[in-house]
C-alpha cells in the first residue's frame, strides 16, 4: 500500500523526521506511538502534503506512485485520508456541501460521474449512523461550534464517506471520553477491509484496546526505533517512554 524510505523532513530549518522507514500493506493496521515531539504529527502532515514542511531526502511510494510529487488534493483523490488532530472550522460551508464537493471532485478525477443528490443523501444517512453522528450536524457548517468529540467523530464520518485506501488517524483519541472513543473505534473497525489500511498515530495505548493493530512502531526523534506486535503498546504503557529514551539516547 505505502512504502516510506529514509524520509527526512524539516520545518523552518529544523529537522523533525530523520530517516524514517515504514511499509504498510493492504489489510493492515499500524500504530505509531512515541513521546511528544517525536515527529508523529509531522509524519501525518508530510504524507498529506502540508507545504510548511520541506522534504530533504527519501521517498514515499503509495500504490505504485510517487506520493511526494502529487499535490495535496491529488493525494486525497488517490485515496489517502488524514483525520486531523485539530479539525479546521470553515464558517458558512455546510458539512454536506463540503463533502459533496469533495466526493464529486474525487469522482471527476477518477473519470466517474457525479453522485446524485438522492444517492449522496442516502450515503450520508448510512455513514452518519456508523459514527452515531447527529444528522443535524451534517447540515451545520464544517466543524463550526462542534464539541471536541463531535469534531473527531466528524473526521471519521468524512472518512467513511470518502472510503480511502489508506487512512491516517492523527491522535484521533486525544480529548475523547471513553464513550466517544468507543464510537470512533467502532467506526474505524467497520471500515476495515482487506483492500484498505490504516496508520493510527497515538500517544496512549488506550485507543489500541479498541482498534487492534497488527504492528506497533515506536517513533523517537524522527525515526522508528522499535517495532512489535500489539503487546509492545502494553509494554510502553507500563514502562513509559523513558525506557525508549534511555535505550536510544543518541538518536
Amino acid at each position: 500500500m505505502i512504502t516510506i524510505k529514509n524520509l527526512h523532513a524539516s520545518i523552518d530549518g529544523k529537522e523533525i523526521l530523520r530517516g524514517l522507514n515504514l511499509t504498510v500493506n493492504a489489510g493492515e493496521v499500524h500504530a505509531i506511538m512515541g513521546p511528544n515531539g517525536a515527529g508523529k504529527s509531522t509524519l501525518a502532515s508530510v504524507l498529506a502534503g502540508r507545504d510548511a514542511y520541506e522534504i530533504t531526502a527519501g521517498e514515499v511510494i503509495f500504490e505504485g506512485t510517487d506520493l511526494l510529487s502529487l499535490s495535496t488534493e491529488d493525494r486525497a483523490r488517490e485515496g489517502l485520508f488524514l483525520a486531523f488532530q485539530y479539525p479546521v472550522e470553515i464558517p458558512g460551508v455546510s458539512n454536506v456541501n463540503f463533502l459533496r464537493t469533495a466526493i464529486n471532485e474525487i469522482r471527476a478525477y477518477k473519470g466517474e460521474e457525479s453522485l446524485s443528490a438522492k444517492d449522496f443523501m442516502s450515503l450520508v444517512r448510512e455513514k452518519s449512523a456508523l459514527v452515531e453522528l447527529d444528522s443535524k450536524l451534517a447540515s451545520r457548517s464544517v466543524n463550526e461550534g462542534f464539541s471536541g468529540g463531535e469534531k473527531k467523530r466528524n473526521e471519521i464520518f468524512q472518512m467513511a464517506m470518502l472510503a480511502p485506501k489508506l487512512a491516517i488517524l492523527d491522535e484521533t483519541d486525544s480529548g475523547l471520553d471513553i464513550d466517544a472513543l468507543r464510537i470512533v473505534a467502532k467506526g474505524v473497525n467497520q471500515l476495515k477491509s482487506p483492500e484498505n489500511a490504516a496508520i493510527v498515530i497515538t500517544h496512549y495505548q488506550r485507543l489500541l484496546d479498541y482498534i487492534v493493530p497488527d504492528f506497533v512502531h515506536v517513533l523517537y526523534k524522527g525515526q522508528i526505533v522499535k517495532t512489535g506486535g500489539k503487546e509492545l503498546a502494553l509494554e510502553l504503557e507500563e514502562k513509559g517512554y523513558d525506557w525508549i529514551k534511555d535505550a536510544h539516547p543518541t538518536v
Binding site: A48, T72, F84, V88, G92, E105, A117, V124, Q158
Partner: protein, 482 residues
C-alpha cells in the same frame, strides 16, 4: 505542480469577461449633452410633468449649483464633467407597451440576454418586473394581478401621472432634495424609476423587481425609486443593474426612498453588477447612490446588497429608526477587483425607543482595488434601550489591494447597547489545506470558503437573487441539500 492559489482566482476574476457588456442596437431618443435650466424644462416637458415637479427640479438644480462634491469617501476618481452628459435618453417608441407582444424584438432579446424573460417570469416564478433602460421604464409585468390587491407597481413617470398625490406626499420625505451633492443632482434631472405602494394590511404575494440597464453611450442614469409600505403591509423588492462595456465612465446617481409605516416591513435587495471597467481600470460606472428608509412604529426595513460592479461605488443604504420598536438591518457583500473602488456601508439612526439594528458587512478585495466599509451607528437621547450589533469582515485576496473599515459609533443614551466587531485577514491557509486533503482542488476550495464567508448575507437574498449573486461571486452552487 500547478498550484491554484488565490492569485489564480484573482486572475481568473480579473480576466473573466463582463457578460453584460453588450449594447442593444436600438434607436434612442437622446437629448443633447449639457445641463441647464432649459435641459431640466425639456426633460419635464418630455415627461408631461405637473408644474410642482418642475419647480421641485429647478429648486434642486439651483441648490446643487452651490454645493460641493463630497470628498470624505475613500475613493479617487476624476470628477464627472456634468456638461458632457446627456440627461435624457429613451429607447424610441418608448410609449409604454400595451401588451408584451408589442415590445420591440431587440428589446426582448436584450432582456433575454440579461436573463429577464418577462413571459417566463410571469409564467414560472411569479416575480413582477419593471425594466428600466437608460432614462425610462420599458415594461412592467403583472400589473393587473397586483392591481387586484390595490398594490401599485409602475414606473415613476406613470406614478407621477396616475398617482400624483401619493408621489407628492412621500417623495423627498426621507431624503431631502438637497441631502447631498448627487442626491440634489438626481432631484434635478431624474428621468424614471420605479414606484411601489402596498396598501394597509396587504402582504405583497410576489417579489417586485426592477431591472436597471444603462444602454446608450454618453448618458447617465438618474433614476428614483420610491417604495411605500402602508400600515401592516409587507413587500420584498429586488433591484438588478447592468451596463454595456465602454471606455468612458458613465454616471449612475440614483435616489431610493423607502417608507415603512406602522407595523410594515420592507425587504430591499440589490445585486449591483454595473460594468466595473476593464482590468486596467478603464471605463466603468460611477455609482453614487443615496438610499435611505424610514421606519415608523414597530416596522422593519432590511437592506441586502451584493455589490460586484461599478468602477467607483459610493453608497450607504440607511435606516432612520424613528418609530419605537422599529428594526433596521443591513447585509452587504462587496467585491472589488482590478482598479475598482468601493466605499459602502450604512447609517443606522436610532430615534425611537427599543429600536434595534444589525449590520453585517463582508468585503472581499482582489487585484489593485480599494474596498472600504463606512458606517454610522447613532443613538440619540430619545432612543432608550436601543441595540446595535455590527460585524464587518474583510477578506484580502491580493497583496496590492486595500481593505478599510471606518465605523462611527455615536451614543447619547446611557441605556443603549452597542457591539461592533471588525476583522481583516487573508483567506485561511488551514482551511485551504483541510479542503485539499479531502480532495477538493484549490479553486473550488477558495470558492467554498468565500461562499461560506458571505453566507450570512447571501442567506438574506430571495432564492433567485441568491443564485445570481453566487454566480457573480464565482462560487460554485451549494447543493439542494443542507
Amino acid at each position: 505542480m500547478a498550484n491554484y492559489t488565490e492569485e489564480n482566482l484573482a486572475e481568473e476574476l480579473e480576466n473573466q469577461e463582463y457578460k453584460f457588456g453588450f449594447v442593444t442596437p436600438i434607436d434612442s431618443d437622446t437629448i443633447p449633452i449639457g445641463l441647464s435650466e432649459d435641459v431640466i424644462r425639456l426633460i419635464s416637458n418630455k415627461k408631461e410633468e405637473p408644474l410642482w415637479l418642475l419647480e421641485h427640479r429647478l429648486h434642486a438644480y439651483n441648490v446643487w449649483k452651490t454645493m460641493e462634491e463630497p470628498k470624505w469617501a475613500h475613493v479617487k476618481y476624476k470628477k464627472p464633467d456634468f456638461q458632457n452628459i446627456a440627461y435624457y435618453s429613451a429607447p424610441k417608441q418608448s410609449k409604454k407597451y400595451e401588451s408584451w407582444d408589442d415590445v420591440d424584438p431587440e428589446m426582448k432579446a436584450t432582456m433575454a440576454k440579461l436573463g429577464i424573460s418577462m413571459e417566463e417570469q410571469q409564467r414560472l416564478t411569479g416575480v413582477a418586473v419593471d425594466f428600466v433602460m437608460d432614462s425610462v421604464s420599458v415594461a412592467t409585468s403583472f400589473k393587473e394581478k397586483l392591481g387586484e390587491l390595490g398594490i401599485i407597481f409602475c414606473s415613476f413617470s406613470e406614478a407621477v401621472q396616475n398617482h400624483p398625490d401619493l408621489v407628492r406626499k412621500y417623495m423627498g420625505t426621507v431624503i431631502p432634495t438637497t441631502d447631498n451633492y448627487y442626491a440634489a443632482l438626481n432631484n434635478a434631472v431624474f428621468t424614471d424609476g420605479s414606484f411601489c405602494y402596498i396598501p394597509k394590511g396587504v402582504r405583497c404575494p410576489m417579489e417586485l423587481s426592477t431591472y436597471f440597464r444603462i444602454n446608450a453611450g454618453g448618458t447617465g442614469q438618474f433614476e428614483r425609486t420610491l417604495v411605500v409600505a402602508d400600515e401592516g403591509s409587507y413587500v420584498s423588492y429586488l433591484e438588478g443593474c447592468t451596463a454595456p462595456q465602454r471606455d468612458e465612465n458613465q454616471l449612475h446617481a440614483a435616489v431610493v426612498e423607502l417608507i415603512a409605516l406602522d407595523n410594515a416591513e420592507i425587504k430591499y435587495s440589490t445585486v449591483q453588477n454595473w460594468y466595473p471597467g476593464d482590468k486596467n481600470g478603464l471605463g466603468g460606472i460611477f455609482n453614487f447612490v443615496t438610499k435611505r428608509g424610514i421606519c415608523h412604529t414597530n416596522s422593519k426595513i432590511s437592506w441586502t446588497q451584493v455589490e460586484t460592479g461599478s468602477a467607483v461605488t459610493w453608497k450607504y443604504p440607511s435606516c432612520i429608526l424613528k418609530g419605537d420598536h422599529s428594526i433596521g438591518e443591513f447585509y452587504s457583500v462587496a467585491v472589488t477587483n482590478n482598479y475598482q473602488q468601493a466605499d459602502t456601508g450604512t447609517k443606522m439612526i436610532h430615534l425611537g425607543k427599543n429600536t434595534k439594528s444589525t449590520i453585517i458587512s463582508k468585503g472581499i478585495s482582489a487585484g489593485k482595488s480599494q474596498n472600504s466599509y463606512r458606517g454610522l451607528v447613532q443613538i440619540h437621547k430619545s432612543a432608550k434601550n436601543a441595540r446595535n450589533f455590527s460585524q464587518c469582515d474583510s477578506l484580502l485576496m491580493s497583496s496590492e489591494c486595500g481593505a478599510h473599515t471606518f465605523p462611527y459609533i455615536e451614543c447619547k443614551n446611557s441605556t443603549a447597547k452597542i457591539e461592533h466587531e471588525a476583522t481583516t485577514s487573508k483567506i485561511g491557509e488551514d482551511q485551504l489545506f483541510y479542503c485539499k486533503q479531502r480532495g477538493i482542488g484549490e479553486e473550488k476550495a477558495i470558492g467554498l470558503i468565500v461562499n461560506g464567508y458571505c453566507k450570512e448575507v447571501l442567506n438574506q437574498l430571495p432564492m433567485e437573487f441568491a443564485v445570481e449573486a453566487q454566480k457573480l461571486l464565482t462560487i460554485s452552487l451549494e447543493g439542494s441539500v443542507g
